[in-house]
């Protein structure tokens, strides 16, 4: 019932940006089963339910007229639906143990304005001045209200688009077969995992006291897929290399400016040259993380251009 209008919440948010500004800290307390923050208007769920009911009845009756008249089958339907409800309760109770759902909800709290601005920032980060993430009572502000906050919506969409664009590029070169899509997806996912694990390991070794979570790192690693999508769309060698070099430099600058505030100490982040082994090491780490992004972008797309 709920996931349907939840999908339209991202589009619905653009229509009601002013109403959602006040309740910042507790996005959804009402329904614990709800996975998405539904901000679409009231007639959204109603129309979804109205679509569902005639569809349900219309499916069973053409098969056998009087299918649901038998009291035994009535009991069977009731039993089946109670089993399903019990299973749903069990999943809802236990899902917080494996996937931190409330933390994930923060990363998907985006709207179209944020997405547009963030995409522009990823491709052209040179004019943006203030890269600080705003905080509100010790919690970072949702991405809807702060363009510097990381989100998972753009990386997820970019990843899926990258797979589709890779399939398209392979198709124009007559090298396409359906299992190649799955292969592309899993190898890109594997490289992302390797990168996130390597960054986590190096952050642990350098003992950086940072508030970068694993999901943050996943988001930052996913941002380079945007460059992968844009370069994959170009067919032709020279166009590909031009766009690739532009995207590489852009993502390098973006990562340096974003990570500088998170990894380096506050004094060093403001541009003052602080000499010390620790700060130097942290600077090298930031540079290494930022330099790995263009490398991966090249690695993930060069086989698409022949």
């Amino acid at each position: 019932m709920q996931p349907g209008p939840g999908g339209g919440a991202a589009a619905g948010n653009a229509r009601h940006p002013m109403k959602r500004r006040v309740p910042l800290s507790e996005p959804s307390l009402g329904d614990p089963h709800q996975l998405f923050h539904d901000t679409s208007s009231a007639h959204g769920p109603g129309s979804y339910v109205a679509h569902r009911v005639p569809g349900g009845l219309g499916y069973s009756s053409p098969l056998q007229p009087g299918f649901l008249d038998d009291p035994m089958s009535n009991m069977a339907v009731a039993y089946g639906s109670s089993l399903a409800a019990h299973g749903k309760e069990l999943v809802d109770k236990n899902i917080d143990r494996f996937i931190p759902v409330t933390k994930l909800k923060y990363y998907f709290a985006v709207d179209t304005v944020y997405v547009g601005k963030k995409l522009g920032l990823l491709v052209f980060p040179y004019l943006h001045q203030d890269w600080e993430v705003q905080y509100q009572q010790d919690m970072p502000v949702a991405p809807r209200f702060d363009i510097n906050a990381p989100d998972l919506y753009i990386p997820a969409m970019a990843f899926i688009t990258y797979i589709l664009v890779a399939g398209l590029a392979l198709g124009t070169q007559d090298r396409f077969s359906p299992d190649l899509l799955g292969l592309q997806a899993s190898s890109a996912l594997a490289w992302l995992t390797v990168e996130v694990l390597a960054i986590l390991l190096s952050l642990y070794l350098v003992t950086v006291n940072t508030d970068l979570t694993t999901i943050d790192l996943l988001a930052f690693s996913g941002y380079k897929m945007i460059g992968g999508v844009v370069t994959g769309l170009l067919f032709g060698k020279t166009g590909y290399y031009v766009v690739l070099s532009w995207c590489c430099v852009a993502i390098f600058v973006f990562m340096i400016r974003t990570l500088r505030l998170k990894i380096l100490s506050e004094v060093a982040a403001e541009g003052v040259l602080v000499r010390g082994a620790r700060n130097q090491l942290r600077m090298y780490l930031t540079m290494a993380i930022a330099a790995a992004q263009p490398l991966f972008m090249y690695w993930l797309t060069f086989h698409l251009v022949r």
Binding site: S186, A190, T193, Y204, R278
Partner: protein, 79 residues
């Protein structure tokens, strides 16, 4: 570019196995990475070397407890 998630899992398994079979006395002490040589200073800066030694020691301790890991390794290389 057939780098699948399964090969990633295999690589991780091999790395953990490599750490688990490092022999303490013959190898780590010779290059100064033994477990009794690292817990020197409780100062502010652990440094990369002591962090790495701690990591290796904790991986080895976990693997010592987990004998199931040995069976998993044996099964995975039959494929």
């Amino acid at each position: 570019m057939a780098f699948t998630l399964y090969s990633l899992l295999q690589a991780a398994l091999l790395c953990v196995n490599a750490i688990a079979v490092l022999h303490e006395e013959r190898f780590l002490k010779n290059i100064g990475w033994g477990t009794d040589q690292g817990i020197g200073g409780f100062g502010e800066e652990p440094g990369i070397k002591s962090q790495l030694m701690n990591l290796i020691r904790s991986v080895r301790t976990v693997m010592r407890v987990d004998q199931y890991f040995q069976k998993l390794k044996a099964h995975s290389f039959k494929i």
